[in-house]
């Protein structure tokens, strides 16, 4: 009958903790990237002005907000 030793549990917890830190770092970089995309869309929209530009701008801002919100969510649930 398999048993779980305290060392196994500790190893699992350390792995999960490292995974959590790795995910949070990835999400922070993603959020920074999302903010750069907002600036990029702004730059592009000023260069070529079309009817679609405001929609793309709004989308990039929502996307950046979601990326930042995801950090908080991941911090909370992991």
């Amino acid at each position: 009958m398999p048993t779980t030793t305290p060392t196994d549990t500790l190893d699992f917890e350390i792995t999960m903790m490292l995974l959590k830190v790795a995910i949070l770092i990835i999400l922070v970089f993603y959020a920074i990237f999302a903010l750069i995309v907002v600036r990029q869309v702004d730059l592009m929209s000023k260069t070529l002005i079309t009817k679609v530009s405001p929609i793309l701008k709004a989308f990039s801002i929502i996307h950046a907000g979601f990326a930042i919100g995801l950090i908080v969510l991941a911090w909370g649930i992991l």
Binding site: T47, L48, K51, H63
Partner: protein, 190 residues
Amino acid sequence: MFTAYVEHPTDCSFEGQDNDEKILLLLRAHPITNLKWIIPAVLLFLVPFFVPLVFQFLHLDLSTIPQTFEIVFLIINYLLVLIITFEGFLNWYFNVYIVTEKNLVDIDFHSLLFKNIDVAPLRNIEDTASSMGGILNSIFHYGNVFIQTAGASRNIDFHSVPRPHHVADFILDEAHKIYGRGRDAYHHPD
């Protein structure tokens, strides 16, 4: 709105456009060139469906991973799909070639924040050439247009645009019009 070849586009302008300058032709790369980001996006979209099969194949137990981690991995995966799609679309939509009554304008966004705008006056255009080669190019009728300009100014190339031969001819016709106007302007029959 989302086409690659628009003659006399309305509701569209660009940075540095004069008030009396009309856009005659707006070009983008042919939509089929978007396959280079659509295919990776679709594959990445399908990844979560194959993960359980891979785990099963490797005799690993997926249930050891907490469900919260699975959810976060899933969200990150679909965020990547979203950003690949969005970036691909942005690059296609905003990398344009414009022919106006006065100039040729080549707007390029190479990376996230690198912008390059080449402008060549139509009066400086000496020669145009077009090329079309390859299976996709022949099927979907798109190719490159090379525009040679006078003097030390940079040549302008339109890459993967629809109807390249027609575009090359169109640009040369417009240049001839300008040249004709210029010749008449300097012609003083006393």
